[in-house]
Symmetry: C3
Subunit: 355 residues, 3 copies
Amino acid sequence: MKLAELADFLTSNGFPSQVDGQSDLDVTAVNTLENARSGEISFLANPKYRSLLPETQATAVIVKPHEDAPDGLTTVRTDEPYAAITATIIKLHGYRVHPQWGLDDHATVSPSATLGDNPNIGPHVTIADQVVIGKNVTIYPGCYVGDGVSMGDDVILFPNVVVYNGVTIGHRVTIHACSSIGQDGLGYAPINNQWLKIPQVGDVVIEDDVEMGAACTIDRATLGTTRIEQGTKFSNAVVVGHGTSIGKHCMFVAQVATAGSARIGNHVTLAGQVGVGGHLTVGDHARVGAQSGVMKSLPGGKEYLGSPAIDSMTFRRQLGHVARLSDVRRKVQDLQTQIDQLKQAMDDDDNNRPR
Amino acid sequence: MKLAELADFLTSNGFPSQVDGQSDLDVTAVNTLENARSGEISFLANPKYRSLLPETQATAVIVKPHEDAPDGLTTVRTDEPYAAITATIIKLHGYRVHPQWGLDDHATVSPSATLGDNPNIGPHVTIADQVVIGKNVTIYPGCYVGDGVSMGDDVILFPNVVVYNGVTIGHRVTIHACSSIGQDGLGYAPINNQWLKIPQVGDVVIEDDVEMGAACTIDRATLGTTRIEQGTKFSNAVVVGHGTSIGKHCMFVAQVATAGSARIGNHVTLAGQVGVGGHLTVGDHARVGAQSGVMKSLPGGKEYLGSPAIDSMTFRRQLGHVARLSDVRRKVQDLQTQIDQLKQAMDDDDNNRPR
Amino acid sequence: MKLAELADFLTSNGFPSQVDGQSDLDVTAVNTLENARSGEISFLANPKYRSLLPETQATAVIVKPHEDAPDGLTTVRTDEPYAAITATIIKLHGYRVHPQWGLDDHATVSPSATLGDNPNIGPHVTIADQVVIGKNVTIYPGCYVGDGVSMGDDVILFPNVVVYNGVTIGHRVTIHACSSIGQDGLGYAPINNQWLKIPQVGDVVIEDDVEMGAACTIDRATLGTTRIEQGTKFSNAVVVGHGTSIGKHCMFVAQVATAGSARIGNHVTLAGQVGVGGHLTVGDHARVGAQSGVMKSLPGGKEYLGSPAIDSMTFRRQLGHVARLSDVRRKVQDLQTQIDQLKQAMDDDDNNRPR
């Protein structure tokens, strides 16, 4: 693809772009500034990598309009380099092409299951009774789809995913390897100093366009529904407790855990290793920083840090105070010294005063 | 089931109960206050949800004896609503009914394995040599049971569980999807700046009535045994290091990790994302709050918080102190100002004093 | 094996050793001080367990040269008991012997895959197109090896491991159960308040002699390569983000998570539950303590603690200061009292002074 064509493509997709340099150069692939070779296009979105610009072997680089590029480096200039490179990767590379199994001979599919058009079901898959699956669904080897599961169109289950009985999965949902949806939550009543298991009779609903990483675990509700709403994305090893509901277009980084019956709003970002306590609410557009622990409900639209999580500005200020505690202690000693000197001075005064 | 019958059932099961309202109403299912419809019974155990009482569509609600219920709402009154609703769920819903595979044709079972009566082994399961399995055991599709594993009666392995060679599993143990029991722990000796693997020749014993969530990982011991004692329950993604022993009736919330050779007592609660360091002891009935890090041994019977974990009252007091550090700094400045004023006053005195 | 022979074996393997006691005793196995029985040899490396020496039933114990052993206990004395016991375990027990499947009838292997000599591929394994596998490779049941994966000699994949398309695995790599290598990372561009998936077109390279625990998840790079270098060892549930590179001979304890594009040096130790932020660097030989959060780049060769992670000495000093904050507050009040007394004294002076 010539750079001129690429700029036109980006412009017509909502990212107005202009070539600055040789617009007739060809690019066939996208790569990082560090690894790109001739014939590849790269990008600069994070200013931290600016120092790599002079040395990159990329044929061209997508940059911001006023980026100060080295002489002789052809650039494609646009307001949103990160979005533009995304569109470019989709254009030049496309998404993963899956193996095509049709309905593999080594899959075990219940006669009472209903498969939509164009199924792509790998070997060693088990599809249990009364399952209903939409069209163009890919189920990689080793997956288990339990009794009565319902699944929309264009779903992708990567290898060894487990979907327990009665779970509902929307359209275009992608679940990465070794994740489990719908296992029983930690529901026990303490009876006679032992734990009596509470049957977990609720279900899980995963709405359209959700994607989750590998080794995620989503509990079914004790009663009612554990729900993950449209467009929300998880990284790996995310845990969602029973009865929790998570809004639309959230992003959870790796190892986030939400306890049972939490209510997470829309567009919430939980960074890596964040925990959210049970029965708590996190408001829309809240952003919670890495390793924070949400131990009371948090209003939306703000940034939080710490364990327990508090307003991020307050947290940073407290950190600063803690870092200067030796100064405080030294100052307190100094004050004592000054007071002692004052006392001594007063005593001296008293003694020297004419009586 | 009529409410009168339900109250009798609960009373005869150790939870004396009385209907307050129409005892001849029928209930067929349990649901949350929010989601319950007519014909369903709900409960109020957590006072936080009291405000849902007036709007619930439930036919009846299980509440405490002196709960102030809205007019016209039929209640079942008992001292322990949470235990009573558990008994009610068991009565009305029962536990999950598993698919019945018998011994599926697509399971691979070693001729030297011994299966007890009434096996329920799904497709794509592998059972290796010398395995001994009790009666009424359900092994879902995709599980692996390694050489010489021994398993009691009424065990349930959900899909894609892996049990390494030589692990011992008691009666009525339930392990959720994608958990792995008995892999090698992180055992290496540093030799010439490299890591030399120490053969992990110990085993794992999971005692009766243990249940663990999805994606848990339990290391075999280097030497000796990693042990999880009777009745202990884990949520998802719990990690147990090699040679650790965990007592009876503990509860570990999601993403708890205990390092190697830890000794956890009986009835210990570790909340979500807690870590316990290697070779440490946590005493009976200790409760460790979410995200805490146990970095020295902790006596039993107390509540701990923080990383490093300390007595929870002390931790809360320290948190309070940290939150007021700007006050302290301001006060220290104020003290300096007062001292400066005193000095000034003394200087003035000196200057004004008759000589 | 007689103790005299064992001492010779250790000496000739680089751990000069001497029997102190009966050198003609036979030992057949290694065990802990607590669990060892007659005929077994144990060791004392961690002084914490010294109190177990008098009661051990072990036939002999490997100890340091000047260890004060109880009368009558035969010891094998050497400078490095931990390394020596490792060599002894390898000698007496050896490493795990795998089941031998050859190429199991119930494995699904693409005709375009190339298997090296002596394959050991269990049932219910899927090997996709264009895979190239070295010699003496063991792939346990339920594993998935995606299109175009390349794997060296002597690799071991334990049950239900998933290797996505295009991943490269070196020689003697061991991956424990339910781990997933090469899934898509959390790569989305925010477009119109939704998340647009960025195709993850990079790959993963796992170099020689890497071992990782169960339920680990290693993202493929968005562009370029996620790399884990030679000899690095992971415990369970470790997450590596897309495009991260990890140096040689590192050790990551359970539940460590590194975000995308992190650069971890050689010989780095990350203790349990540590998180490392995206695009950060951790220098060679750095050691980061349990539950720490790396939120800026850290120079090598030092020890770090805390979230955010700082120099460990500074962290410990800050912890000490926080623990004594009630003293500081009391002292500040005391200073105020002293100042008030001074003021009072000055007032009195003023009033008593002759005018």
